[in-house]
């Protein structure tokens, strides 16, 4: 029995020794960079990797640094709050004071810098509706158009800003336009508008739905976000008449050529979302360039010292 207990403790020690041997000196420069990334389904990852000029990595794990850590948005935020040697990226709307947001090419991620195009690490939020004549009834069609007008209005822009993204249009207050949409003067509580598409847009889309409902006859809304690919698929593509059909689909990337079959008027960009590289609050680094970020994600820089000195 004693022998077996000794054996057990031996195995434990061996297992401990098998850990990736990265001795951490007291100096930050000698810390190994812990690289965090979203998984390949993520629109944030696509935007980030394209933005830093490492498009190969947008949907391909095998070109990334060995030992990278996949996590969802929330896990990356939590990790950066604790992991002093970590680096990750999130959408600007998620940034809070528990982590440190880095400048990109020397420019801070602010609403002004996103709109005047000096902050380049960003991705578009776009929408696609069903084509004219492909609605169950005219009320649904009118409500869909009203929703798009609402999103483009000052009210829509405020909702988008309140959810952390930067709206691309402000066509005036909704109160001044609502008369163009007589459908909003009816009681629409028996109608349900269905929204889908990108899950990175989900928070903003839900906020827009919630704000639109009282502004347009208490129409019911349903947000079911599964991925940018479904924006086209479920409004104009193969699943448009299936059980998961949507009136409006959101995408967190510009639509691909294959998705542009419908008329131009059915597509619109509603916002920009800045993507921000984030690190632990105690990290002395303030900003990184596209090249530095690429080298970190490729694995050419493995220590924080590489980033600071090179």
């Amino acid at each position: 029995m004693k022998k077996s207990i000794f054996l057990l403790s031996l195995i434990f020690v061996l297992a401990l020794a098998a850990c990736s041997p990265t001795p951490q000196g007291p100096k930050f420069e000698e810390e190994k960079i812990n690289v965090y990334t979203r998984d390949t389904t993520s629109g944030t990852r696509d935007g980030f990797m394209r933005g830093i000029g490492f498009a190969d990595a947008s949907a391909n794990d095998s070109v990334l640094v060995a030992g990278f850590i996949t996590a969802d948005n929330n896990a990356i935020m939590n990790a950066m709050a604790t992991d002093k040697a970590g680096i990750g990226y999130v959408s600007l709307s998620s940034v809070n004071n528990t982590i440190k947001a880095l400048k990109f090419e020397g420019v801070a991620a602010t609403e002004e810098n996103v709109l005047n195009n000096t902050y380049k690490l960003k991705r578009p939020f776009v929408m696609m509706r069903r084509v004219d004549g492909d609605y169950l009834n005219d009320t649904e069609y009118q409500l869909t158009l009203a929703f798009l007008a609402y999103v483009a209005s000052n009210d829509g822009a405020d909702v988008i800003a309140n959810a952390g993204a930067t709206a691309t249009s402000r066509t005036g207050t909704w109160a001044s336009q609502v008369s163009n949409h007589p459908v909003c003067a009816q009681d629409n509580s028996a109608v349900t508008l269905k929204f889908g598409g990108s899950d990175s847009v989900q928070k903003i889309a839900e906020a827009l739905s919630a704000a639109f409902s009282p502004a347009c006859g208490n129409v019911k809304t349903e947000n079911d976000h599964t991925g940018s690919g479904d924006a086209h698929k479920r409004t104009q593509g193969g699943e448009k008449d299936g059980v998961n059909y949507k009136h409006i689909g959101y995408s967190s990337r510009f639509f691909r050529d294959a998705e542009l079959s419908g008329p131009e008027a059915t597509r619109t960009q509603m916002a920009w979302d800045a993507i921000v590289a984030i690190v632990h609050k105690d990290n002395p680094v303030d900003g990184l360039t596209a090249e530095q970020l690429t080298k970190i994600y490729k694995g050419e820089y493995t220590l924080w010292g590489d980033v600071i000195t090179k």
Binding site: N74, N162, A163, G164, A175, D187, P214
Partner: protein
């Protein structure tokens, strides 16, 4: 020398026994301590009865005469900001889901916020109550105040005499778990309705009607194998078999609670069959023989003589099944998804309490406070179930004696 060696090994072995026991007890202690310490803050009646999705309102002031308000003293409260111009106080706070919000802390009885015109179709007046959430306030010719910028700035902008309020956007609290509680109850009810009769009748077949041949042995083995199948595999069963089946047979067009209940039924079926069989087996054969001798047939004997005596066992099985239903997460995530709903319909997907935790833990930011509160609720139910099983077994065994 040898003696000392023995003594040393005695101490070592005894020590390891005590240490292990201590660790096991510590584990339970840690879990309870953690869940209670993180989960009790949020417990409130509103949490259990409230909607998860907040209802939004749009309104404008009815009349706007300048008044002065005598406000209560809030200097002792942290992060409370007074808007003396309109007689309200705002607080930087968190909603039930743990997100930062601007909560209405106080509304003066004469405040214009107390009597506003609703801008919604079909309703005319609406008033702001303490506990509600400000989304944003728009002004004529001034940028809108956003809740994102925090209560302090929101209050100071609202106080600015240059700004004339145009529209007020607010909502009730949201973040409640009523929908998930109802879903859990639905699931328990539907699953038991399917699984208990099914399981009990199957157990009766094995114990009363079947002869012990290779076929029943094989069938028993098949059912016993079900207990070893991990719940995530049941999830795959649900989406490949039960979801398409229910879409075909019911008005459902997507994953739905009936498919969830069917999946859960398969999960708890082996437990119900085994427990019922065990309690059928202890019914003395004399009782069967006596009933048969009196001219009753097998069916009558089984249902009128044997089954009533097995009721305590069936009850225990039911309780164990309820525990399993409440705790199940992986299978239901597959079959029903993880989108929290307020209006529950058995033909649509919604989340049970356990899946609500999963949804909160994978949300951004991870909502540990609300998750712990739901976990506390689940632990309490599981505890009650355990105690009642023990109690019923104890009472019935006493009665039996």
């Amino acid at each position: 020398m040898n003696n000392r060696k023995i003594k040393f090994s005695e101490i070592f072995l005894n020590g390891s026994v005590f240490l292990s026991t201590f660790l096991s007890v510590l584990a339970l202690g840690l879990i309870f301590f953690y869940v209670i310490s993180r989960g009790t803050d949020l417990i409130s009646w509103e949490l259990f009865t409230g909607n998860y999705h907040a209802r939004n309102y749009i309104a404008e002031f009815a009349d706007l005469e300048e008044k002065t308000y005598t406000m209560p003293d809030f200097s002792g409260d942290e992060e409370v900001y007074i808007v003396s111009r309109y007689g309200i106080a705002l607080k930087q706070d968190f909603d039930l889901a743990g997100n930062g919000v601007i909560k209405v802390h106080y509304v003066h009885p004469q405040s214009p916020f107390n009597q506003m015109y609703s801008k919604e179709v079909g309703s005319d007046v609406v008033d702001l109550d303490a506990g509600m959430i400000f989304q944003r306030i728009s002004y004529i010719d001034h940028p809108t105040s956003l809740s994102r910028n925090g209560a302090e700035r929101f209050a100071s902008e609202l106080n600015d005499p240059q700004r004339e309020v145009f529209e007020i956007f607010f909502s009730d609290l949201g973040g409640g778990i009523r929908g998930s509680i109802i879903t859990t109850l639905y699931l328990i009810f539907m699953t038991l309705i399917i699984a208990v009769p099914f399981g009990v009748l199957t157990a009766i077949f094995f114990n009363e009607f079947s002869s012990n041949n290779w076929m029943t042995k094989l069938m028993r083995n098949f059912i016993e194998t079900l207990t070893g199948v991990p719940s995530i595999i049941y999830g795959l069963l649900g989406i490949t078999v039960f979801v398409p089946l229910t879409i075909r047979l019911t008005p459902a067009v997507n994953s739905n609670l009936i498919a969830g209940a069917l999946t859960l039924s398969v999960i708890i079926l082996p437990t119900i069959i085994r427990t019922t069989e065990e309690s059928l087996r202890v019914v003395p054969d004399d009782h069967r023989a006596a009933s048969l001798a009196l001219g009753a047939n097998k069916t009558q004997t089984t249902f009128k003589v044997v089954l009533p005596q097995a009721l305590p066992g069936i009850l225990t099985a039911t309780f164990l099944g309820i525990g399993r239903i409440i705790g199940e997460s992986a299978a239901l995530i597959f079959v029903l998804g993880a989108a929290v709903k307020d209006r529950i319909n058995i033909y649509e997907p919604s989340t049970s309490l356990a899946v609500h935790i999963w949804s909160m833990m994978t949300d951004e930011p991870a909502n540990i406070a609300l998750s712990s509160t739901i976990a506390l609720l689940i632990l309490a139910i599981v505890l009650i179930i355990n105690v009642s099983v023990k109690l019923s077994v104890y009472l019935l065994s006493k009665k039996g004696l």
